[in-house]
C-alpha cells in the first residue's frame, strides 16, 4: 500500500505527495485515524494523510535520539552542518514553484505570495542559519590564571519537538528547522494536522540534501495527540511551539510536569497599530490595511486594533475603508487575488462568530461583515468602528481580516490603549515626529515594534512575544540560544586541595 497520493496543483500539474509518517528516513503508516486534508477554496478533500499516535511519536523520538548520539549532535562539525543547510536551501529554491502551488492548495494563500513571500523568506532563513552553524562560540573566562581555565561550551540541546501552525506552513517550518539543525539538534516535527503536505515534501528534500536518517522526522497528528505527546515526552529535551496562547499554556504545563524540558512559545497577539497626526496618511493606511489583511488576517502579529488620533480620524478612516474595499479575496491560483480563504471551516465559523459578536455588542460595521456566497471559507476585510475596550472584538484574537478601530487624543492615551492587553507580540506606529517615534516605540510593550511600517520581518532580526504572547525569540542570532545548552567547564591545573580542609 503506497503512502502517497496524486494531487492536482492549482496550475493543473499533477504531483505525487507523500502521505505517511517520515521516521528515520522511512515512510510508515501511522496508527492513529487518518487526517482529511481539505482545500479551503473549494471545501473539497485533497487527500488523506497518516496520523501519528503516541506510539509513533515514541518511534520518532527514538530515531531522533539515535541520530543525535551517533551521526548528528557532536558527531558532525559546524562546517559540515553549514554545507548541508545551504544545500537544503538550494533544493527548496529548485522546487519552489511546486512547493508554492502545494502550499496554496492546502492553505489557500495566493500562489504569488507563497512564492514571493513565504518561500523566498524560507530560502533566506536557511542560508542565514547555515552561516551560523560553525560560529556557535562559548567564552573563556578569566578566574585565576595560575590555577584554572574556565570556559563555556554552547552545546546542542538534543532532541527537539517542534509543533508548527497552519498559517505559514513552509515559513514556520523553516523558522524552527533552520536554527535547530544549525546548532546540531535533531528534530521531531509535528506539522499542523490541517496543513501537513508541504512539511512532508520538505522532509524529502532534507534527505536529498544529505542529512543523516533520523535528524529530521515528520509526524503529522492532532495537536491533542502528537503535540501533547511531544510536550510530555521524557526523552525530548526541548519543545518549540507556535500557535494559540491556550495551547501554549498546555504545552508549558506538560513540559513542567514531565521532564522540565526547555520551552519556547510563539503565541497569539492583538497587536495595536497607532496612527499619529503627523503620519503620511496614505502610506499609513496602506500599512494598516496590509497589517490586517495579509494572509487574510491569519497572522500572529496582525494589526487587529487600530487607534487613530482624533484630529485625523475621519479623514484616515475614509482612506482606510476605500483601500479595504479594493482588497479582493478569491482562490489562490488567481493572480489578481490579494487574499485567499481562511484555512478551515473551524476558523471560518470562528471569525464569523466574532463578526456577529461585534455587531451584537454595538460596534459599527464600516465595511465587510457579510457572509460569503458560494463555496470556500472566504471572508472579506471587515472594519468595525465605534468600539469599546471591553468588546470581544477588541480584547480577543480573531485571526481573520477583522479590524477594530478606536480613537485617541494624546500620545499617552494611545500608549495606554495599545498596552491594555495581555498580549505583547507586535505593534506599529506611524508618525513623522522622530522624537515621538522613539518615545512611543520605547513605551510599547511588544516584542516587535514597527515604525512607519508593519509586518515585514527579516531573517536576521529576532521575533517573539512579551507578556502572554510568548517565551523566547526566533530569527536572528537570538534563536540560537533556544537550541543550545550552556556547559561551563572548570579545568583545574594548579590547585591542590588539602585534606582535611
Amino acid at each position: 500500500m503506497a503512502l502517497t497520493a496524486d494531487v492536482t496543483l492549482p496550475n493543473g500539474k499533477k504531483v505525487t505527495v507523500p502521505t505517511g509518517l517520515y521516521i528515520n528516513d522511512k515512510w510508515v503508516e501511522g496508527s492513529a485515524p487518518k487526517l482529511d486534508i481539505v482545500n479551503p477554496a473549494t471545501e473539497e478533500l485533497i487527500c488523506q494523510v497518516s496520523a501519528a499516535s503516541e506510539k509513533d511519536i515514541d518511534a520518532a523520538v527514538a530515531a531522533a535520539r539515535l541520530a543525535f548520539k551517533t551521526t548528528w549532535g557532536k558527531n558532525v562539525t559546524g562546517f559540515e552542518r553549514a554545507k548541508l543547510i545551504n544545500k537544503l536551501a538550494d533544493l527548496i529554491e529548485r522546487d519552489s514553484e511546486e512547493l508554492a502551488q502545494l502550499e496554496s492548495l492546502n492553505n489557500g494563500k495566493p500562489v504569488k505570495f507563497a512564492l514571493g513571500g513565504d518561500i523566498t523568506d524560507t530560502i533566506g532563513c536557511f542560508r542565514y542559519y547555515a552561516g551560523w552553524a560553525d560560529k556557535i562560540v562559548g567564552q573563556t573566562i578569566e578566574v585565576d590564571n595560575k590555577t584554572k581555565l574556565a570556559f563555556t561550551r554552547h552545546e546542542p540541546i538534543g532532541v527537539c519537538g517542534q509543533i508548527i501552525p497552519w498559517n505559514y506552513p513552509i515559513n514556520m517550518w523553516a523558522w524552527k528547522v533552520a536554527p535547530a539543525l544549525a546548532t546540531g539538534c535533531t528534530i521531531v516535527m509535528k506539522p499542523s494536522e490541517i496543513t501537513p503536505l508541504t512539511a512532508l515534501k520538505l522532509n524529502v528534500l532534507v534527505t536529498e540534501a544529505g542529512f543523516p536518517p533520523g535528524v529530521l522526522n515528520t509526524v503529522p497528528s492532532l495537536g491533542s495527540v502528537g503535540g501533547a505527546a511531544l510536550a510530555s515526552h521524557l526523552d525530548v529535551d526541548k519543545v518549540a511551539f507556535t500557535g494559540s496562547t491556550i495551547t501554549g499554556r498546555k504545552i508549558m504545563e506538560a513540559a513542567a510536569k514531565s521532564n522540565l524540558k526547555k520551552v519556547s512559545l510563539e503565541l497569539g497577539g492583538k497587536s495595536p497599530h497607532l496612527i499619529f497626526e503627523s503620519a503620511d496618511l496614505d502610506q499609513a493606511a496602506n500599512w494598516a490595511i496590509m497589517g490586517i489583511t495579509w494572509n487574510t488576517g491569519q497572522d500572529c502579529t496582525a494589526g487587529s486594533r487600530l487607534y487613530v488620533q482624533d484630529s485625523i480620524y475621519d479623514k484616515f478612516v475614509d482612506i482606510l475603508v476605500k483601500k479595504a474595499k479594493e482588497f479582493v479575496v478569491g482562490p489562490g491560483h488567481d493572480d489578481n487575488v490579494s487574499g485567499g480563504p481562511l484555512v478551515s471551516k473551524t476558523q471560518f465559523e470562528r471569525v464569523l462568530n466574532y463578526i456577529a459578536a461585534g455587531k451584537a455588542e454595538g460596534a459599527t460595521v464600516a465595511c465587510g461583515g457579510e457572509k460569503w456566497n458560494g463555496k470556500g471559507y472566504f471572508v472579506e476585510p471587515t472594519i468595525f468602528t465605534n468600539v469599546k475596550p471591553e468588546m470581544k472584538i477588541v480584547k480577543e484574537e480573531i485571526f481573520g481580516p477583522v479590524l477594530a478601530i478606536g480613537k485617541f487624543q494624546t500620545e499617552e492615551e494611545a500608549i495606554a490603549l495599545a498596552n491594555d492587553t495581555t498580549y505583547g507580540l507586535g505593534a506599529g506606529l506611524h508618525s513623522k515626529d522622530a522624537d515621538q517615534c522613539m518615545r512611543v516605540s520605547s513605551a510599547l510593550e511588544a516584542g516587535t515594534v514597527w515604525v512607519n511600517q508593519y509586518n515585514l520581518l527579516n531573517n536576521n532580526v529576532p521575533f517573539g512575544g512579551k507578556k502572554q504572547s510568548g517565551i523566547g525569540r526566533e530569527l536572528g542570532s537570538y534563536a540560537l540560544e533556544e537550541y543550545t545548552s550552556i556547559k561551563a567547564v572548570h579545568w583545574n591545573f594548579g590547585e591542590k586541595l588539602p585534606w582535611p580542609l
Partner: protein, 503 residues
C-alpha cells in the same frame, strides 16, 4: 601594450587538463595591460625555468584600481548590496573554486612548487572553506544598542571601511587570497590586491570565477607587480583607508611606516615567526616526532608559523633524536616532483629563497652547530633543499634567532620548565608555539605562559577558519580568521540620537 595569455597542459599523473587565462592586471572586471608595458618572468621552481609572463603593474595601475574600487563601493557594493546577498556571492565563489579544485591545485603546484596533493587537499579546499565561513558572517555584522538614559538612543554601526589594500605572500598564494578576500568582502569592502610577483597565477585564474560568481566589476581588483612599486603605492595611497599585509617583518615595518606617513590608514600585519615547539619528558614521543616534523617541514618550511625551534626535555632527548632522525630520513627520500603522488616535499619557491636558506645552513655550520641531517641541495634542477636538522645549537646562533623560511629545523635540549619557557619566549617574534605533554594541566599552564598568538597543545600547524590567527610582538598586528577578522574590515560608528534634551 598587451595582455599575455598563459596556457598550460597538465599531464598528470594526478590530474590531466588544460588551463588558460590572461595574465594582465584585473581592474574593473577586465584584464588590462600593466602601465609599465613591462612583464615579469614566472619561474617553475621545480625546473628553474620560465613558464609564463605576467604584466608588471605600477603606481598608475594602483590609481586605476583604486578608482574602480571606489566607484564600485559608491554605486553597487558596500551596504548597497545587503549582507545576505554578499554572503550568497561568497558561497557561489566557494562552489566555483570547489568545482575547479584540480585545475587550481595543479596551477598552484606549478607556480609555487608545493605538492599537488597538498595544494589540492589543503590549500584549495581550505580556501573554499574559508570563503564559506565568511559568507556566513556577511549578514551578521552587528553593532550594539547601548543604554544610557531615556533621553538618548545610542547605537553603533559596524560599517565597511571602503577600499582596502591587500598584499599577499608567495607561500600559500591561493589560501592567503581567500583569507584576505573572505572577511573584506563579507563586511562590504572593495579590494585592491597585490599577489606576490613570484606566485600570481592562481590569483589570476580565480578572477574569471569571481566574475562568474556575480561580484560586480570593481569589487575585486588585482594589480600585479613588485613590492617596492605596487606594494609601496598601495601602502602610501591617500585613498586607501586600510592595508592588510602578510609577509616578512622587515617589509611589514615598511608598510606601517608608509601608512603612517601617508594618511594613517589602518594596518594589519601577519609577519614572520620563529615558533618554539616544546616537548616534555612525558610527551607521546612518537606523536611528538611526527608533529615536530610536520611543524618544520610542512610546506617546505615556508610557513610563517613553522615550528622551527624544537626544544626537547633531556629525559627523552636521545629517544626523540633517534626517532626524529629516522622519520626525517624517510621524508628525505620523498623530495621531488610536486606532481608525483608520493612526493612529500617539492622545491623552495625561488632562487632567492634557495640562496637565503643555503646561506643560513652555512651560517649554522660556521657558528658551530652540528649539521645532523640534510644541508645539501637535492638534485641538480630546481630549488630543492634536503630536509635539514641542526643540533647542539646555542641561543645566540643566527639559525636559532632568525627566520630561515626553509626546511631547516634546530633542536635544543632543555632541563626545566622555567628555563625552556624563558628560551621559547626569548625572541622578537610571537606568532605560534606548541607544547607536547601528556600532563594536559601542565601543557595548558605552559601554553598560557608562551608569548604567541597561537599555541598548539599536542599538535602543530593545524588551523581552522573559525579560530583566529595572528602574532604577538613583532609577528604582527591584528588577527585573521574567526570572527576577529571582521574587526579589521569594519569602521565603528557610534550614533547618538537625542530624544529629549533641549539646549
Amino acid at each position: 601594450m598587451s595582455v599575455k595569455t598563459f596556457s598550460y597542459e597538465f599531464t598528470g599523473p594526478q590530474w590531466k587538463g588544460k588551463t588558460e587565462f590572461k595574465t594582465g592586471n584585473f581592474i574593473n572586471g577586465e584584464f588590462v595591460p600593466g602601465g609599465s608595458g613591462k612583464f615579469i618572468d614566472v619561474y617553475n621552481p621545480t625546473t628553474g625555468k620560465v613558464i609564463a609572463q605576467i604584466s608588471e603593474g605600477n603606481a598608475a595601475d594602483v590609481d586605476l584600481a583604486v578608482d574602480a574600487a571606489q566607484k564600485a563601493y559608491d554605486t553597487v557594493w558596500g551596504l548597497k548590496t545587503p549582507g545576505f546577498a554578499r554572503g550568497k556571492l561568497l558561497i557561489r565563489l566557494a562552489e566555483l573554486i570547489e568545482e575547479n579544485v584540480d585545475e587550481l591545485a595543479s596551477l598552484e603546484a606549478l607556480d609555487n612548487g608545493k605538492t599537488f596533493a597538498a595544494a589540492r587537499n589543503f590549500d584549495v579546499v581550505e580556501a573554499a572553506a574559508c570563503l564559506r565561513y565568511y559568507a556566513g558572517w556577511a549578514d551578521k555584522i552587528h553593532g550594539k544598542v547601548i543604554e544610557t538614559s531615556e533621553e538618548k538612543f545610542g547605537y553603533t554601526r559596524h560599517e565597511p571601511i571602503g577600499v582596502v589594500g591587500q598584499i599577499i605572500p608567495w607561500n600559500f598564494p591561493f589560501l592567503m587570497l581567500a583569507w584576505k578576500l573572505g572577511p573584506a568582502l563579507a563586511c562590504g569592502n572593495t579590494i585592491v590586491l597585490k599577489p606576490s610577483e613570484f606566485t600570481s597565477l592562481t590569483a589570476l585564474r580565480v578572477c574569471t570565477l569571481i566574475s562568474a560568481a556575480g561580484f560586480p566589476p570593481g569589487v575585486v581588483n588585482i594589480v600585479l607587480g613588485y613590492g617596492q612599486t605596487v606594494g609601496a603605492a598601495i601602502s602610501e595611497h591617500m585613498k586607501i583607508e586600510k592595508v592588510a599585509f602578510t609577509g616578512s617583518t622587515a617589509v611589514g615595518r615598511t608598510i606601517m611606516k608608509a601608512a603612517a606617513g601617508s594618511n594613517l590608514k589602518k594596518v594589519t600585519l601577519e609577519l614572520g615567526g620563529k615558533s618554539p615547539n616544546v616537548v616534555f619528558n612525558d610527551a607521546d614521543v612518537d606523536q611528538a616526532v611526527k608533529w615536530a616534523a610536520h611543524g618544520i617541514y610542512f610546506n617546505h618550511g615556508q610557513t610563517c608559523c613553522a615550528g622551527s625551534r624544537i626544544y626537547v626535555q633531556s629525559g627523552i632527548y636521545d629517544s626523540f633524536i633517534e626517532k626524529f632522525t629516522a622519520h626525517v630520513k624517510t621524508l628525505s627520500t620523498l623530495v621531488g616532483d610536486p606532481f608525483h603522488p608520493s612526493t612529500f616535499q617539492g622545491p623552495q619557491v625561488s632562487q632567492i629563497q634557495y640562496d637565503r636558506i643555503m646561506h643560513y645552513i652555512e651560517s649554522g655550520k660556521s657558528q658551530g652547530a652540528t649539521l645532523h641531517l640534510g644541508g645539501e641541495r637535492h638534485g641538480t634542477e630546481g630549488y630543492f633543499i634536503q630536509p635539514t636538522v641542526f643540533t647542539d645549537v646555542e641561543p645566540h646562533m643566527k639559525i636559532v634567532q632568525e627566520e630561515i623560511f626553509g626546511p631547516v629545523g634546530v633542536i635544543a635540549k632543555f632541563e626545566d620548565e622555567e628555563d625552556v619557557v624563558r628560551q621559547a619566549n626569548d625572541t622578537m617574534y610571537g606568532l605560534a608555539a606548541a607544547v607536547f605533554s601528556r600532563d594536559v594541566g601542565r601543557a595548558i599552564s605552559v601554553a598560557h605562559r608562551l608569548q604567541a598568538g597561537t599555541v598548539w597543545v599536542n599538535c602543530v600547524n593545524m588551523l581552522n577558519s573559525q579560530i583566529p590567527f595572528g602574532g604577538f610582538k613583532q609577528s604582527g598586528i591584528g588577527r585573521e580568521l574567526g570572527e576577529y577578522a571582521l574587526a579589521n574590515y569594519t569602521n565603528v560608528k557610534a550614533v547618538h540620537v537625542n530624544i529629549g534634551t533641549n539646549m
